[in-house]
C-alpha cells in the first residue's frame, strides 16, 4: 500500500517553500523576508495565502505547487454553510509532538425523528446553550446528527424542517436508506449537510444523491477496512471527493477493535500516504446505547470515556447522545488541550503582573509559573475584577501543589522572589497572600520575609471572595 509520496509536513524544509515563493523580500506578509515567511509556514505559524503577491495571476502555478506541497495527507472536508461551516480532518501527523493537531473534532448531538417536536426543540436549545468558559475560552457543542428511527421519509423531512427553523447548527443526516436521505436533502441541501452514509448495499443510489447535491458523505464499513478502501476507490472513480470514513465504533468488550481500526486508518494515511485512507474519521460513541440494557447513567459513563479515547486516537468528528454536562465537559476540555500547540511552553516568565489599577494599598499575591496555573489564576483575578499585584515565582514550571511537595516553592524561594521583584516598592503594607495549596509554608515564610502571610483559597476561583471578605486585613 506504500506509494511514492509527497513529503510529510515534518520533512518539508523552509527552503522547499522558499523556492516557490516570489523571493522578492517585499515584506508585505509582515516578515522581514521570504525565508522568514517560509519558516513560519513550515512551522504552522502562517498560511501560504498570507503572502499577498503569490495570490496574483503571475504566481498562479507556484501557488498551486505550494498548496500541493503543504496539503495534509488527510483531506480537510467541510460541512454546514456560511458562518456555521465546520472543517474536519486536514491532519498531518500521527503524534501530537510531531506537529500541532489541526481542526479539533466537532461534537454532534443526535436528534431522532421519533422524538416529540417539543422534545426536539428542548434538545436543540440545550445544545445551543451548552457553554463552559475554560481559562477564558468559551467551549461549546458544534452540530446535530438527525437520525431516522421511524423510517418515514415524510416524518424525517418534517423534523429537518423544524430543526432548520430553530437553529443554524450544521447537520449530519443519518440513515442508510436513500429515500430518507433524499427527503432530508429536499429541505436542507443548501445547508450542505454531511450525509451518513454510503454502504456497500446502497452506494449506487446514495452516490447519486451525493453527486446531485455536492454534499460531503460518510462512507461506512464497520469493522472492514478492506471494504472501506473498496468503497472509497469506487466513489473516487465516480468523481466523489468529499468523504468521511466510518470504520465502526465498537464498544464494551470490542473497544480494542475500535482503537485498532482508527489507528490503522490514520497510520495508513499519514505514514504510508494511502490516498484511499486519507479522509477524516467519524467516531460514533453513540453506539454504546446499542449495548446491553444498562442504566442511562452507565451508558453515559461508557459514552464519555469512549469519546475521550477517540479524541485521543484520531476521530475527526464525533456523534454523541448524552447531553449531560458531566459527560460532555471533559470532552470539550480534552479536545481543547490535545489540539493546542505542543511547543507551547509549560511555564511562563517569572515576574510581577498587575491587574486593574493597583495602588500602594492593593493586595500582593503569589503563584507558580506553571503555564496552566498562571492562566487559571489570571483569568480568575480578571473575572473577579480585583486590583492587585501578582508575583509569579519561578517554580521550575511546576504547579503550586507539585512545587511545594518537590521543594521548588519554599519560604526562602518566596523571600528571594519578593526581593528580586522589589515587592516592598509595590505596596506600603506587608501582607502577602499565598495560595491555599502552599499553606504549610506560611510560618516559615513569615520568618524568612518579615511579611505577614494570609493564606488564600486552595482554588483560585475563591480569590474574589477572599479579597472582598478579608481585604484590607484587620490587625489583631
Amino acid at each position: 500500500m506504500k506509494e511514492e509520496h509527497k513529503k510529510s509536513i515534518r520533512e518539508i524544509s523552509p527552503i522547499d517553500v522558499y523556492k516557490l515563493l516570489p523571493r522578492t523580500n517585499c515584506a508585505e506578509c509582515g516578515e522581514a523576508n521570504c525565508m522568514a515567511f517560509a519558516t513560519r509556514v513550515v512551522n504552522g505559524e502562517a498560511v501560504i495565502e498570507g503572502c499577498p503577491p503569490i495570490l496574483t495571476k503571475k504566481y498562479e502555478k507556484d501557488l498551486s505547487k505550494l498548496q500541493e506541497l503543504l496539503a495534509p495527507p488527510v483531506r480537510a472536508v467541510h460541512f454546514g454553510s456560511g458562518d456555521h461551516q465546520l472543517t474536519i480532518g486536514g491532519k498531518h501527523v500521527l503524534y501530537r509532538h510531531e506537529f500541532t493537531y489541526q481542526n479539533p473534532p466537532p461534537i454532534a448531538i443526535d436528534i431522532s425523528d421519533d422524538m416529540e417536536n417539543e422534545q426536539i426543540a428542548a434538545r436543540i436549545k440545550k445544545v445551543q446553550d451548552f457553554a463552559y468558559t475554560y481559562i477564558g475560552r468559551p467551549l461549546s457543542l458544534d452540530a446535530l446528527a438527525v437520525r431516522s428511527v421511524t423510517q418515514s421519509p415524510d416524518r424525517y423531512a418534517e423534523v429537518i424542517q423544524q430543526i432548520c427553523g430553530l437553529c443554524n447548527l450544521p447537520l449530519i443526516l443519518c440513515s442508510t436508506d436513500p429515500a430518507i436521505i433524499q427527503a432530508g436533502l429536499s429541505v436542507c441541501a443548501e445547508r450542505k449537510p454531511l450525509i451518513f452514509a454510503i454502504t456497500k448495499e446502497n452506494w449506487k443510489e446514495m452516490g447519486e444523491l451525493v453527486l446531485d447535491t455536492g454534499c460531503p458523505v460518510v462512507v461506512s464499513a464497520p469493522g472492514d477496512l478492506s471494504l472501506l478502501r473498496t468503497l472509497v476507490r469506487t466513489l473516487q472513480e465516480w468523481g466523489i471527493e468529499d468523504m468521511v470514513l466510518d470504520p465502526g465504533t465498537f464498544h464494551s468488550d470490542r473497544i480494542g477493535q475500535t482503537i485498532h481500526l482508527f489507528t490503522a486508518l490514520r497510520k495508513a494515511a499519514v505514514k504510508n500516504f494511502d490516498a484511499l485512507s486519507g479522509y477524516p474519521i467519524l467516531g460514533t460513541p453513540i453506539s454504546v446505547w446499542n449495548g446491553q440494557e444498562l442504566s442511562d447513567d452507565l451508558n453515559r459513563w461508557q459514552e464519555a470515556y469512549l469519546t475521550s479515547m477517540l479524541i485521543t486516537r484520531y476521530a475527526d468528528l464525533l456523534i454523541m447522545h448524552s447531553l449531560e454536562g458531566w459527560a460532555l465537559l471533559p470532552q470539550l476540555i480534552w479536545r481543547f488541550g490535545i489540539y493546542t500547540d505542543p511547543r507551547k511552553p509549560v511555564s511562563v516568565d517569572a515576574g510581577v503582573r498587575t491587574f486593574g489599577n493597583p495602588d500602594k494599598t492593593s493586595p500582593v499575591l503569589i503563584t507558580s509559573n506553571y503555564a496552566l496555573t498562571f492562566f487559571t489564576v489570571e483569568s480568575d483575578i480578571k473575572a473577579a475584577k480585583i486590583d492587585c499585584h501578582l508575583i509569579v515565582i519561578d517554580t521550575g514550571g511546576l504547579s503550586v501543589e507539585a512545587a511545594v511537595a518537590g521543594r521548588y516553592l519554599t519560604a526562602s524561594k518566596i523571600a528571594e522572589s519578593l526581593k528580586e521583584w522589589k515587592a516592598d516598592t509595590l505596596v506600603s503594607h506587608k501582607y502577602l497572600i499565598i495560595p491555599g495549596l502552599a499553606a504549610r509554608l506560611s510560618g516559615e515564610t513569615e520568618d524568612e520575609t518579615g511579611w505577614r502571610v494570609l493564606v488564600g483559597p486552595r482554588d483560585s476561583s475563591g480569590i474574589g471572595q477572599m479579597i472582598r471578605e478579608r481585604w484590607p486585613p484587620v490587625e489583631e
Binding site: 481559562i135 464497520p222 460514533t284 470515556y305 458531566w326 473575572a383 504547579s399 510560618g443
Partner: protein
C-alpha cells in the same frame, strides 16, 4: 487475585452504597446552583500550512435545482475491490521489564507480585502486538489526613486514620494490585514524624495486606532519603517501589545513600522529574551510578485534565517512542499519579445544574486521565476512586484482548434510544 475474581463495575457500584448506585441508575439527580465565570485569555494556536479558504465554499441552492458542483464521472458498474493491509510496527528495542514485590520464595513476604514494562510497541495500535502485561493499579493510602473532595472521602470514613485498614480495604474491596503508602506525616513542615515512625506504619501495612507496596515520601530530599533508608532496611527483600528519588536529592547529596540502601536491600526506585525528558534522562544517568537500571521506573509527572494533561500525554508518547527506537535512558516502565485529576476544579467543584452530578464528574475526570495515559503507554497507575479504578482495569483488559467484531454493535443510525 485472578482477573475473574476482580470486582466488576456493577459490584463496585453496589459497594459504593446507595448514593452512587442511585445516581447511576438515574433515580436521583442532585442539582447545584453555582456560576463560575472566568475572564478573557487568548492562547496562541498556530493555524497550519494552508488556509482553509482555499477550499471552495459550499454552493447554496435548493435540492431540486442544484447544479452538480462535483465533476460527475461514469459510475463504475461494480465495486472496485481493494485490500487493507497493516503490519504492526516493529521497533528495535523494548522497555525493561520489572517485577515489583517479592514472595517468600524470592526473599519477601508478599502473596503476589506484579510485573510492569516489557513493551515492544506503542500500545493498542495493532491486534497482533498487545502489551505484555496489563496495567498495574495501585490505590493510595495516606498516613495523615489530607484535604480530599467529598467524592473520595465518602467511602473512606472508617479507615481514614488507619493506614493498615485502609490498605486492606483497597485490596479486598476495590481489587488493588498494589498499595501506595504516602508518608506525608514525615514532612518537616507538617508533623515531622521520624523515619522510625514511618517505618512502623509501613510494617503495619505489610502485615495487613500481601500485595506489593509503593512507599511515597513527603518531597523533602533530605527527609525522604532518611525515611527511605530506614524503610529499605526494615523491609529487606520485599522489593518495594520507593517513590521517589529526584534531582533535588542529587543536589542535597542524598541520592547516593538512598540508591545504595535501596539496592542493598533489594528494592526498586522511581525517578521523578517534572515534564521534561532531558531532566528525566539526566536524573536516570545519575541514578545509574549507584543503582541498577533493571530496577528503575520513571514518573514523568501527571497533571490533571484541564491543567495540562496534554503535556503529560505528549511527554509519555515521546518517551515511549524514543525508548522503542533505542534510547536506553528512557527504557524504563512509567507510572502515572492519576489521583492528581482531583486537583482540577472541574473534578470536584459545583459548576451549576448544567454540569450536575459531581459524583460522576470527579471519577470520570480520574478515569479519562488514566485512559489517556494508558494509550500513551503508561504501565502503572496510582489511583483513588473505585469507579475510576474498575473502569481503567475493565477497559485495559478489553483493549488488550478485544472480542471478535460483531457488526450489529456499531449500528446506531436507526436505533431507538
Amino acid at each position: 487475585m485472578s482477573d475473574q475474581e476482580k470486582p466488576d463495575i456493577s459490584s463496585i457500584i453496589r459497594l459504593l452504597g446507595p448514593g452512587l448506585a442511585e445516581l447511576l441508575s438515574g433515580r436521583q439527580i442532585e442539582l447545584e446552583n453555582v456560576e463560575l465565570e472566568l475572564g478573557e485569555l487568548e492562547l496562541w494556536i498556530p493555524v497550519g500550512g494552508i488556509s482553509p479558504s482555499i477550499y471552495p465554499a459550499p454552493v447554496p441552492g435548493g435540492a431540486g435545482q442544484l447544479a452538480p458542483p462535483v465533476k460527475r464521472l461514469p459510475r463504475p458498474d461494480e465495486l472496485l475491490s481493494e485490500k487493507f493491509l497493516m503490519e504492526p510496527d516493529v521497533f528495535s528495542s523494548k522497555v525493561r521489564e520489572i517485577t515489583l514485590g517479592a514472595t517468600r520464595a524470592d526473599g519477601g513476604t508478599r502473596g503476589s507480585t506484579v510485573t510492569v514494562g516489557g513493551s515492544t510497541s506503542i500500545p493498542f495500535t495493532h491486534p497482533q502486538s498487545p502489551p505484555p502485561h496489563p496495567p498495574v493499579i495501585s490505590l493510595d493510602v495516606f498516613d495523615t489526613r489530607v484535604p480530599m473532595p467529598k467524592a473520595l472521602k465518602s467511602h473512606l470514613t472508617e479507615v481514614i486514620d488507619d493506614p493498615a485498614a485502609w490498605a486492606k480495604m483497597n485490596v479486598e474491596q476495590f481489587g488493588a494490585d498494589m498499595v501506595t503508602v504516602h508518608l506525608l506525616s514525615t514532612d518537616p513542615l507538617i508533623q515531622n514524624k521520624s523515619p522510625r515512625d514511618a517505618s512502623k506504619t509501613v510494617e503495619e501495612v505489610l502485615q495487613a495486606v500481601d500485595v506489593p507496596l509503593i512507599i511515597g515520601g513527603c518531597g523533602d530530599p533530605k527527609k525522604d532519603a532518611e525515611t527511605f533508608t530506614e524503610i529499605a532496611a526494615m523491609a529487606e527483600g520485599e522489593r518495594l517501589l520507593l517513590n521517589s528519588v529526584t534531582s533535588d536529592m542529587a543536589d542535597a547529596k542524598t541520592l547516593e545513600p538512598v540508591c545504595k540502601a535501596a539496592d542493598n536491600h533489594g528494592h526498586c526506585l522511581l525517578g521523578f522529574t517534572g515534564l521534561d525528558l532531558n531532566s528525566a534522562k539526566e536524573l536516570n544517568r545519575r541514578i545509574y551510578q549507584y543503582f541498577p537500571p533493571e530496577r528503575l521506573l520513571m514518573d514523568l509527572t501527571t497533571v490533571a485534565l484541564g491543567y495540562g494533561l496534554e503535556y503529560s500525554f505528549s511527554i509519555h508518547e515521546r518517551a515511549r517512542m524514543a525508548a522503542l527506537m533505542g534510547d536506553k535512558e528512557l527504557q524504563h516502565p512509567t507510572i502515572s499519579a492519576c489521583t492528581n485529576a482531583w486537583s482540577a476544579r472541574e473534578a470536584w467543584m459545583d459548576l451549576g445544574p448544567a454540569f450536575g452530578k459531581n459524583d460522576l464528574r470527579g471519577p470520570l475526570w480520574e478515569t479519562i486521565g488514566g485512559l489517556t495515559l494508558l494509550l500513551a503507554g503508561v504501565d502503572l497507575f496510582l489511583m483513588m476512586h473505585p469507579l475510576a479504578v474498575s473502569t481503567l482495569r475493565d477497559v485495559a483488559g478489553k483493549l488488550m484482548h478485544p472480542a471478535e467484531i460483531n457488526l450489529g454493535m456499531a449500528d446506531w443510525a436507526a436505533l431507538k434510544i
